[in-house]
Subunit: 289 residues, 2 copies
């Protein structure tokens, strides 16, 4: 495809390689990062340009991407005088990859509409490895027209990119993802802790039971490291606590019952209090040893 003018806001553990894939695909990329040194690093590595504000990065871009920490960070880069929405051109498309609330997505979507600009919420799954390999799953909420336009550009780092509904539907889908993940991880944690107490070889148990109805991505990819009490990698407990908190808040709005997910959030908070916030979220098993 022909080179396209893009901007990428937020060069964290996910955004840095995602923006890199845009540059490698031949697109023009202007970046912004709160800590400007990292934006300079990125520009040095990929040959793009670093801008002093999100709004300035967004100026003249056909597509603006962001991937920041939480709702508050997202409002800070998206809204206000120096924000993305104010800086970007009419008709351009803003795609946010932050895992955030559906409310903030709707709020930004509404603000974009008033300015004749387009907004898509597009949280991702696939983690750091998926971002580095350019194989992320992207769950998108928004209108079909800007989605179709953005699709080939997102393809630089998105392996499976699906429009799930109107603005907010991407975030809601990501919430379902996290709810399913933590159920599987907690079951695995209880099962493997039990295996240890029962004197079984946990690795052998995983090998055998992952052939049947107990199989899960979590069992295959986190089971062996949980059995070995290794958690110095992956998706941090702090991030999962943030994501689950978003789910519980949204459930209160839409009337969903999340009894077990709610308890698991309490477990994550307990792990944070014990100083395990940076460990992979499979460290739920620590509470059962």
């Amino acid at each position: 495809m022909p080179a396209i003018k893009t901007a990428f806001i937020g060069l964290g553990i996910m955004g840095y390689p995602m923006a890199g894939h845009l540059a490698r695909a031949g697109h023009e990329v202007t970046v912004y990062n709160r800590t400007s040194a990292k934006a300079d690093d990125w520009a040095g590595e990929y040959g793009g340009r670093a801008a002093p504000t999100p709004g300035k990065a967004a100026q003249g871009a056909d597509f603006v991407f962001s991937c920041v920490g939480n709702d508050e960070d997202l409002r800070a880069v998206a809204l206000g005088e120096d924000g993305i929405l104010n800086g970007m051109d009419e008709g351009a498309v803003f795609v946010d990859h932050t895992t955030a609330s559906a409310n903030v997505a709707r709020e930004i979507g509404e603000a974009a509409r008033r300015l004749d600009k387009h907004f898509l919420d597009g949280p991702v799954s696939g983690g750091q490895a998926g971002a580095q390999e350019g194989k992320l799953t992207v769950m998108v909420g928004g209108d079909p027209e800007p989605f179709e336009r953005a699709l080939p550009v997102i393809g630089a780092y998105g392996h499976a990119v699906t429009l799930m509904g109107g603005v907010g539907a991407g975030q809601l889908t990501k919430m379902v993802n996290q709810i399913c993940v933590v159920g599987a991880v907690q079951g695995l944690a209880e099962g493997l802790a039990f295996a240890g107490r029962a004197g079984l070889d946990a690795h052998k148990v995983i090998e055998v039971i992952s052939k049947g109805a107990a199989q899960s991505w979590q069992m295959e990819n986190r089971g062996p490291s949980m059995a070995d009490d290794r958690f110095d990698f992956g998706f941090a407990t702090d991030w999962m606590a943030k994501d689950l908190d978003i789910c519980i808040r949204e459930a209160k709005v839409n009337g969903s019952k999340l009894p077990i997910s709610g308890l698991i959030l309490e477990y994550y908070r307990e792990l944070q209090e014990k100083g395990y916030g940076r460990l992979d979220s499979s460290c739920l098993i620590k509470l059962l040893r």
Copy 2:
């Protein structure tokens, strides 16, 4: 392999086709079932012989298999005057495929040892479909020598057959399996109920998120039917409640913590009280609608 003399006790939804696979593999099979009409049906279908007691069925067999309902049923066919252990020859191998407690396995293993007979506990996973197709996963506890001897015979219906440790280790492994299963199912139930309330297309959500970290056998094989509120098939709530009860009792013995599995057992009991005991155990979602 040359034809071998076998006996199969318990021709339920699992045992009936498992015994059938033994006959199809060319083995001589004598069957016993509490309701004798079913044993006659089986003998008519597969050309084997029906015996009037478990002990009589076991007489002269090199390998005796059983698959009954629970600990009590297992004691009834294994022990006592007319039981398997009393009827079987010295040196023969008794393999039980019931999902039962590790205690009853140890009790029967001890009784077998005193009579110079061999016992292996070998609960299975793979469900009714696995039994019919002869593709069960078999988790075995017992001594290596009888295990090696029984392995090619179990191969008639066992796809993956693994020795996990001494007598009881098969049951303990199956418990880990069920603990992991119910965590995944509950996460899926909360996620899909949430998806419904959030106005998402649950089938589309499953399609998208099953490509990543939320993927599980349960999501792929039960997610779509849960989304459609179909539960008239599969692994019954009554059976899962029985299995989880075994896990919770064993956890009290070995000191494991199973906080979420314990709550899920309460949910299954609530479903039983509502008359849903025969529905597939994925009907946990009914409590969240």
